[in-house]
């Protein structure tokens, strides 16, 4: 399971990095989204992988920490997901506006050479 997730993080990162290095703005948007999946999963995996141990306490509200998955990376990732959406939106809009102003969807605002 760990190996699977590690390889998955690697593949997501690789795809994202490849796209980030491409010249078209849309590739950049998709690439950053893939990268943010990879980063979120990476941060999440810092708490180690647990099955069936969601950090929800029982009715009496007490719990032994070792019975639950680490809630801290989860809290970090939760806001990261929402902020990631916001930055994707911002990037998309910046790229659209830049395309409107320059007439090109190249990341430099004009075709190379």
């Amino acid at each position: 399971m760990e190996l699977t997730l590690a390889i998955a993080i690697g593949v997501l990162t690789g795809s994202g990095v490849w796209l980030v290095l491409r010249p078209r703005t849309y590739q950049l948007v998709i690439g950053l989204s893939l990268l943010s999946y990879a980063v979120n999963l990476f941060i999440f995996s810092m708490g180690r992988l647990r099955v069936g141990a969601a950090p929800l306490l029982g009715a009496d509200g007490t719990g032994n920490p070792s019975n639950y998955a680490d809630p801290v990376p989860q809290a970090l990732v939760l806001t990261a997901i929402v902020i990631g959406f916001a930055t994707t939106a911002l990037l998309l809009v910046v790229l659209l506006v830049s395309r409107g102003l320059t007439g090109s969807d190249h990341v430099d605002g004009r075709e190379s050479r």
């Binding site: 399971m1 760990e2 190996l3 699977t4 590690a6 690697g10 997501l12 990162t13 795809s15 990095v17 490849w18 796209l19 290095l21 491409r22 078209r24 849309y26 948007v29 998709i30 690439g31 979120n40 999963l41 990476f42 647990r50 099955v51 969601a54 950090p55 929800l56 306490l57 009715a59 509200g61 007490t62 032994n64 920490p65 639950y68 680490d70 809630p71 801290v72 989860q74 809290a75 806001t79 997901i81 929402v82 902020i83 959406f85 916001a86 930055t87 994707t88 939106a89 911002l90 998309l92 809009v93 910046v94 659209l96 506006v97 409107g100 102003l101 007439g103 969807d105 990341v107 190379s112």
Partner: protein, 974 residues
């Protein structure tokens, strides 16, 4: 009571300044009253403290600031600070009165008084600070507000340049001062002024004394316009004259000499102090007076004269003798009085005659005899004529210059420099009087017919000139006791005997005064005509710090910057990204290579086939998205979404239900968002963009290598971490206390809204800012020309409508996907209920403000998709900006509420509430906070989505106008 007086004196100008911005824009008179009342109140409060500081008393007011760093907000008033505070607020009051008549109604008055009051407050802060760091903070504030004041008429190039130069020089000095103060604090072990003043011997003997001295002097020399930093002062004359009168008499430039006198017991008395301060003072004294003679601008003459007089004060401070300090403080007061009155008189002349060019002014005395008399008396004080205050301090100065303090050449030439500087001062003072007031009126008339100003505009000048006279004639009865209080507060037991009388008998200083007066007058007789015609001062004409400053500025900010950009920069994004990725890979690889990479053994060693299958799909989708993003955007988007769903399932699988729900709803809105954006991207033509050249191939190979390397690195690192046992983390703390202290059973949610609530507040603020930015960017959105046309699909539908006789244009588009759209409309209430459910259960079960907010936003945007923008907005007013504002306020106020109960910010309150019929309901203040998060997330998400969705209606409007115009043209032709 006394304690708060100090705080009020400093706070009052700032508060009044802020209040003055709120006045209506044409309120010159109310603003004047406000500023006048403020400065008068500061003066009265300062005067009321005299009994406490008289006889060596000190008033202190201590507030904790950052106690762990030794920073305290300490205000401290002793006799010296008292006399300066009175001077600042007193002259400030006169300046307000004067400015009432000087500033024209067309000028933005509120801005003037805001800057003025804030500057006054900062200056009072400098003199009343009891902590060196606090002093530096106020010091920098005076730099900033003087910058704004000098640049008040920002439409003029000279004002902008002068302001920029003043800020650059004094702010650099301020930074040096901060460094110097830190060194002193390090030596003494405290920044408290009392502690520092008591540790003089320790500071002077310390190895770091010279660096500290140099840094502090850099600060005071730049502020007091001492050579070689003097050149900013004449350029600052572009300020309105009331400001010049304030900045260059009682405040700003006095801050430098004030601080030198303040730290005099600590820093002075060493050879280094004597040589550096003495030399700078002496050069400023002589050079300033010399350059002042050649000025053709009246204010320029006064500016150089200010440099000269500040040099005199610095020279006195350098001597290290108590009598020198007495003379220095006395001259600070005297200079402030006569220089303020002269600047005001210069302003009156400029105001009434329309020019302040000495070559064009002449014979003004017959038009304005009263102003003329006052200006003449003030000039005489500046020249050091007996029976005026300038004479007394100059006499003391001569006496001190003659004394031998340290056996060096600086000491030897001091008396000669003193006489030379004074003689030149006499020359320029005579020139001022003679060329403006005496002689015949010029052949060509003045730009304006000169006449006396209103009484109240002249009153401040009159008042100050009377002060010069009274101090000059009966010093012991007027300034004597106050000067003694000030001096003894600096010197303590070392206060020397001195006598403040006009007549000391025939002494050497008297002879020097006589020589200076005679020589100055003779020099004017001999060279007066030449001075009147001189374009540039001889000898030192090329010796301009200003030119050096400009050259350095250009070199740093333009040439070097260009050079660095040429060498390291590129305007292209891809090479930059490549560098960034390479650097990131290197940053990850170097420590791994240095210490090796090993994998642990913990974790689930067996391969879960279902999980592997899930990610096989996920990885194929990710690679597919990467491959398709160039030509098949929609396919890439679908593949991206699939990857997101796989991520979401992973979260469910691995015990993170909160993340899973959030990821799911965010996935939905992201997809909608990008779909909305797709419409504005250009069509891709395959033939044009296919990589063909060998260089393209090489580049792609290199990028591929980078991508593979990055991916492999991440795999290795994450595997290495996941197979190690988890170290002890703070997780246990949160799990144990989530319920007992946060009152929630969903630990992730409790962390977000309670334990780390302040972080969350910051994050939602970012979210709101981003949403507003998106909104602002799209308000002026101009689509590319080839995207303005209707999308192809709509054109096909439209042409079908037009071909059929019984169909209206646009009907097909409206009916498109009719059944799903009806279902989406029906789902609206269901989604609202879902969102509310997610929000309310969030504290105990998966859910919470973030996910509920995004779900709610998805509900709104589904309505837009189902029925179209126009239909929705006729029926539903969403007001996303209000959602954002209310949400953010609610989250912030919930935090403040806890401080009302005496707890730290955002401490949550939790209890069970008994509701009739429903029973026991958990209630935590964190729920309110989460409600704020919810509101903000709804507002931000909806705002972004709607802003993009709206662009299509904008296009319609543009297209409609286009069609109408075409129709009109067609009608005209037919």
């Amino acid at each position: 009571m006394e304690l708060y007086t100090l705080l009020v004196i400093i706070a009052l100008p700032f508060v009044a300044g802020l209040a003055s911005i709120l006045l209506p824009s044409d309120s010159r008179t109310p603003a004047t009253w406000l500023a006048g009342a403020t400065t008068a109140a500061c003066l009265a409060l300062t005067l009321s403290l005299y009994p406490s500081v008289h006889g060596g008393g000190i008033v202190r007011h201590r507030l904790e600031w950052v106690p762990s760093l030794g920073l305290e907000f300490t205000l401290r008033m002793d006799g010296f600070a008292w006399i300066f505070a009175s001077l600042i607020s007193g002259i400030g009051f006169l300046v307000v009165l004067y400015a009432r008549y000087y500033i024209s109604p067309e000028d933005p008055v509120r801005r003037f008084y805001f800057f003025f009051l804030a500057f006054t407050g900062s200056m009072l802060g400098v003199v009343l600070s009891g902590n060196l760091i606090l002093l530096v903070v106020f010091w920098e504030l005076t730099s900033i507000f003087s910058f704004l004041l000098i640049g008040y008429w920002h439409h003029s190039q000279a004002a902008r340049d002068g302001a920029r130069m003043a800020l650059t020089i004094t702010a650099i000095g301020g930074l040096a001062l901060l460094a110097g103060v830190l060194v002193v604090g390090h030596i003494v072990g405290s920044y408290d002024l009392d502690a520092v003043l008591a540790a003089g011997d320790r500071v002077r003997r310390h190895d770091l004394y010279v660096p500290a001295l140099l840094l502090i002097l850099l600060g005071t020399f730049t502020k007091s316009a001492q050579f070689p930093f003097h050149f900013w002062l004449p350029n600052a004359m572009a300020a309105p004259t009331p400001i010049s009168a304030f900045l260059h008499s009682a405040t700003m430039v006095k801050a430098g000499v004030f601080l030198m006198a303040r730290l005099w017991p600590v820093l002075s008395g060493t050879p280094e102090w004597f040589v550096i301060v003495g030399l700078a003072g002496m050069i400023s004294l002589v050079l300033g007076a010399y350059l002042a003679m050649f000025q053709q601008d009246l204010k320029g003459l006064l500016a150089y004269s200010t440099i000269s007089h500040l040099g005199l004060i610095a020279l006195l401070l350098s001597l290290g003798s108590p009598l020198g300090l007495v003379a220095a403080i006395f001259h600070m007061l005297n200079h402030a009085t006569f220089k303020a009155s002269l600047f005001m008189a210069a302003g009156i002349i400029d105001h009434e005659a329309g020019t302040r060019d000495l070559r064009r002014l002449s014979g003004l005395f017959r038009y304005m005899p009263v102003t003329g008399t006052l200006a003449m008396v003030a000039s005489a004080a500046m020249a050091g004529v007996p029976l005026l205050n300038g004479f007394l301090s100059k006499e003391m100065f001569f006496a001190e210059a003659v004394e031998t303090h340290a056996d060096s050449w600086v000491d030897t030439i001091a008396p000669y420099a003193a006489v030379l500087g004074s003689a030149l001062a006499v020359t320029y003072s005579i020139r001022l009087i003679h060329s403006i007031f005496l002689g015949a009126p010029p052949p060509e008339s003045f730009p304006r017919a000169p006449h006396e100003p209103p009484f109240w505009m002249r009153f401040p000048v009159l008042f100050l000139v009377l002060a010069c006279l009274l101090v000059g004639i009966i010093p012991g009865l007027t300034i004597g006791p106050f000067l003694h209080t000030a001096v003894s507060s600096v010197l303590g037991d070392a206060t020397p005997e001195y006598s403040l009388v006009v007549w000391h008998g025939f002494t050497l200083p008297l002879a020097m005064s006589a020589v200076a007066l005679t020589a100055g007058a003779l020099l004017y007789l001999a060279a007066g005509d030449y001075l009147e015609r001189a374009e540039k001062p001889p000898l030192f004409g090329r010796f301009e710090g200003q030119r050096i400053f400009e050259r350095v500025t250009v070199a740093i900010s333009w040439r070097w910057a260009r050079l660095v950009e040429d060498v390291f920069g590129t305007r292209r994004l891809q090479p930059q990204m490549r560098l960034l990725v390479t650097a990131a890979i290197a940053a990850g690889a170097i420590p791994l290579l240095a210490s090796g990479l090993s994998f642990g053994t913990s974790g689930n060693a067996t391969l879960d086939v279902a999980f592997a299958g899930l990610w096989a799909v996920g990885m194929v989708c990710a690679v597919g998205a990467a491959q398709q993003a160039k030509f098949h955007r929609l396919a890439a988007l679908a593949l991206l979404g699939s990857t997101g769903l796989v991520t979401c399932v992973t979260f469910v699988w691995l015990s993170a239900p909160d993340l899973a729900v959030t990821q799911l709803v965010v996935e939905i809105v992201t997809t909608v968002l990008i779909l909305l954006g797709l419409r504005w991207l250009p069509k891709r033509s395959k033939a044009l963009l296919d990589p063909s050249g060998i260089f393209d191939r090489m580049r792609r190979l290199r990028d591929l290598a980078l991508a593979v390397l990055a991916g492999a690195g991440m795999t290795a690192i994450s595997y290495a971490i996941m197979t190690r046992t988890r170290p002890d983390s703070i997780a246990g703390f949160f799990v144990e206390r989530a319920y007992s202290e946060g009152g929630g059973r969903n630990v992730v949610n409790v962390i977000l809204v309670d334990f780390r609530g302040f972080d969350t507040l910051g994050e939602i603020t970012v979210l709101g800012v981003v949403a507003l930015t998106v909104f602002a960017l799209l308000r002026r959105f101009r689509p590319a020309p080839d995207s303005i046309e209707r999308p192809e699909q709509q054109r096909i539908q439209r042409s079908y409508d037009e071909a059929e006789a019984n169909r209206e244009a646009g009907a097909t588009a409206a009916e498109y996907l009719y059944v799903p759209s009806v279902i989406m409309q029906w789902m609206f209430p269901v989604i609202i209920v879902l969102a509310a459910y997610l929000l309310l259960r969030g504290h105990d079960a998966p859910g919470g403000g973030f996910v509920a907010g995004v779900a709610m936003a998805a509900g709104f945007i589904l309505q837009y998709m189902a029925a179209g923008t126009a239909w929705v907005e006729e029926r539903l007013r969403i007001l996303p900006v209000v959602w954002i504002g209310v949400g953010l306020l609610m989250a912030a106020l919930t935090g403040i509420a806890s401080t009302l109960f005496g707890d730290a910010y955002l401490t949550s309150y939790f209890r069970y509430v008994e509701l009739p019929l429903i029973g026991k309901v958990p209630f935590a203040s964190a729920t309110l906070f989460d409600l704020g998060v919810f509101g903000l997330v709804v507002g931000a998400t909806v705002l972004m989505l709607i802003a993009i969705a709206h662009q299509s209606t904008r296009r319609l409007r543009a297209a409609r106008l286009e069609e109408e115009r075409e129709q009109e043209e067609r009608q005209q032709w037919s």
